[in-house]
Amino acid sequence: MTKQLCIAVSGMHRGDNPQPGPAVIRSIRRRYPSAQIIGLSYDLLESGLFSKSDDGVDAAFLMPFPNKGPDALIERLDEISEIYPLDMVIPCLDSEIPNYIELSDEFKSRGIKTPLLTKKSFDRRSKDNLFQLGKAAGVRVPRTIVVSDLMAAHRASEEIGFPLFLKGKQYGAGLVTSSAEVTHMFHSLMAAWGGPVIAQSAVGGSGDEYDVVGLGDGRGGLLGSCAIRKIMLTSNGKAFGGIVVADPALQETVEKIIKKLKWWGPFELEFVKGKEGHELIEMNPRFPAWTDFPSQIGCNLPAMLVDMLLSRPVAPARVCEPGRMFIRHNLDLVGDISQLAELSGGSLINDAQPNLLQSLEPVN
């Protein structure tokens, strides 16, 4: 009898700035309906913990924040593994990845599979190195200056010219149109995320935003990808709706980046269309929150990642048909105060099995 797969996934909150965890879980269950899913959570109120649907978890555990470092992470995962022996962990938040990279040998010795991203690749795509990456790969990136203090932020803004974006190293960004706004935005980014702050030129042109989710094979190749134009955006610029595009120029740009980085595993590339074509504004080292959309049209990248981690043959993903689209739909989930009480003790075991949707893979 085959052992039931036990997979831990983080990033469980689907708020107005949704995290990818539930979408990754839903995709995995399309191919592995009986997988046991463990949610790794940083807050009692992460919405995914309350889902009884196919994106829900079998159990959830509170985790130490990433800034506690790799030792705290591995210690907690060891505790979890005593109850639920983990086969793999799929971190879904940018801030978690450095700890996972640092612990790669520890995971190997424990037989726990995690994405095999290297520190070098991870660092090269960070916001402060993105401009250099663009240069090396032959891809347009808006002019970027990294700043550590307010004076430098003002100097960079003058140099780049208004309007421009100020961005936190890992999260957060805001458009600034004047020096006064620079001061305010710089302080809020520093307070929320710490330094440095990245000043990035706003892209002129149509301003249309494009996102690409994909999976790199670690040798410079692309195992699958899906490109969308964002057709609905939240107030903070997140995709609330998107439509598949088939643009050979965009595809070529994506392939150049992945080849240059020899990227292993999931990624999300964010572009804005400028006067001279697509400009890369960010590369995220994980699946995006909309990753279950391509899974529903035959391009199940999270399930492919599981196959890769298990060293199973990975069939190339189906090409997503242009014109297929998604619209996000928020629902109210019912919880109970007893769940909060249980989770505040560190873990939550769901008695009821998630209402698994069997054979969710699209039929050819």
Binding site: I228, I231, P322
Partner: protein, 91 residues
């Protein structure tokens, strides 16, 4: 007839639309598979775009257009000319 949603400034934000990338959906929507933009269009605009994609010669297009919509060839020719001007950045 008008392709009023396909304005030059919209399609030409640095990137003109290629006719070959336009897909007419249900006769009322022009979808650019490359840029992901879509535009509501009239039945007559859908007809003309469809014929242009099939590379129908202008003379034949005028004839079929006038027959389809029950108008004289002269009016059809003017209508098509105005439409072509309107979408001149579509190539």
């Amino acid at each position: 007839m008008s392709a009023n949603r396909i304005r030059k400034e919209e399609v030409n934000g640095g990137n003109a639309v290629h006719l070959s990338n336009l897909k007419i959906v249900n006769g009322c929507l022009a979808f650019d598979v490359c840029s992901g933009k879509f535009h509501r269009i009239s039945e007559s605009a859908a007809f003309v775009i469809g014929e242009l994609k099939r590379q129908t010669p202008l003379g034949a297009l005028i004839t079929s257009y006038s027959q389809c919509f029950g108008i004289s060839p002269a009016i059809a020719a003017r209508d098509i000319e105005l439409f072509m001007n309107d979408i001149s950045v579509v190539r």
